[in-house]
């Protein structure tokens, strides 16, 4: 085969193709090694249960409930999503992705999978939490919009943090140390939105908080692929 034949082997690769390939690979890997998904859901369940149990028999204000729900989301999110690249480096396959894919495709593929996983986890965590604590919801659309925006933001940020720490020492501890302070603005805005979604105290403040969550999401996603490329790609 000469070089012109080698050129014939090349197909038109597009971003959607490449991102789709990463997402499919993630789903395939996750579905086949069920232990990871199962453990993630268990982590979320155990976190919610522990938090709800701590308040057993006591009246829970909407402010405390909003804070606790966010704490549960953070634990579940950071605990679950940091695996994205840590698992890849631990099994030594990160280099395959480095060789085969463009960094932006890797980031978006991993992010989309993480966002789907986090949205599912958030829905489960919220349902379980509301059920166990008996806290009512006044503004369901606000709750849903905040949880969705929060899940996307968590996925975007934690996926990036996962790549950042994946080649470091003490990865599991480092993940929390690095991710949590970066997520403080999201939590501050998210708690304000959730609190008002639960008690309907100030609808406008709630929607402002929700808007803040989505703005945080946009800013994170605007910068993340470039920051990811800086830590990921040696090429």
């Amino acid at each position: 085969m000469n070089s012109s034949n080698a050129n014939m082997l090349r197909t038109n690769s597009t971003w959607t193709h490449e991102i789709g390939a990463v997402v499919r690979k993630e789903f395939r890997t996750e579905l086949r090694s069920k232990s990871a998904t199962y453990t993630s859901f268990m982590l979320s369940g155990v976190t919610v249960f522990t938090l709800a149990f701590a308040f057993y028999g006591r009246e829970l204000t909407s402010e405390a409930a909003a804070g606790m729900l966010w704490a549960a989301l953070l634990f579940a999110g950071v605990g679950t999503l940091t695996r994205a690249f840590v698992a890849e480096e631990e099994q030594g396959t990160g280099d395959l992705l480095r060789m085969w894919a463009r960094p932006h495709a890797v980031y978006w593929g991993k992010f989309l999978f993480a966002a789907a996983q986090m949205a599912l986890t958030a829905a489960m965590v919220a349902l379980l939490f509301l059920m166990l604590t008996g806290v009512g919801v006044k503004e369901l659309p606000m709750l849903a919009a905040t949880l969705l925006g929060g899940s996307i933001a968590l996925a975007g940020m934690v996926t990036l943090v996962s790549a950042l720490i994946s080649r470091g020492n003490n990865r599991s501890t480092l993940a929390g140390v690095v991710a949590l302070p970066l997520l403080v603005p999201l939590v501050a805005l998210g708690v304000s939105a959730l609190r008002n979604a639960l008690d309907g105290f100030s609808i406008s403040t709630g929607w402002m908080g929700c808007l803040g969550v989505w703005l945080y999401t946009i800013v994170v996603l605007a910068g993340a692929p470039f920051q990811f490329a800086a830590v990921w790609g040696e090429i």
Partner: protein, 241 residues
Amino acid sequence: MKWLAFVAMIGLTVMAYFAPPINTFPEPELARMIFFHLPCAFLTVGFVLFSAVCAIKYLSTREIIWEYRGHAANAVSLGVAAATLATGILFSKVQWGAWWHWDPRQTSFLIVLLLLGAYFAVRMAFDDETTRARAAATYSSLTLLPILFLVFVFPRLPQVVKNSLHPSTTVQQGGFSREYWTVVLGVFVVLIWTFSWIYKIHVRTSLLEKELVDQDGKLEAAGNRTTAHRVDRSVSVREQS
């Protein structure tokens, strides 16, 4: 020049005792903590923002000097932030009666300190210097958004500002006398000078360490003592006969 800064600091310390006390504070005499606290807070933010700029410069140019600058700026701001928080805690105790009040500015500054602390955790986690530089710079660029939020947005949110004990109104609405401002700004200038000097020493140390490693191989090749394990050598490809 160094002694000039020293003399200026002594002069400003003396001036600080002559500035008329602000009587709106519960303990006006002890409120002089502000002379040190306020400039330190400004400096922290300045150095942190500068380190984020260095990080972005490093990521775009890959010139190691920007990594050294970013690292030095973060090291200085960690020290200044700790001083800010410590004086803030003392102020809180004498003026408001408790060491920690969950005052919004106090809290947001603590988180800034955590973000800075995490920067050093990231640095320590990597053995390979290039990977470390990239990870640290990326993290530093990531902290820009939360720091801007924590310093400039969060303490000004309407639902937050009403819970704040911080004397922002005293500072912003003419509560400070001319003497007060003179001392605050004077200390600010002296501290900028002092910490810029420390920053420069930090950068120079990093450069010298790099130079030492670069020289190691040459020393070994010349038969002198070296701290390196192996020789710095050039490799060339030779043609098979």
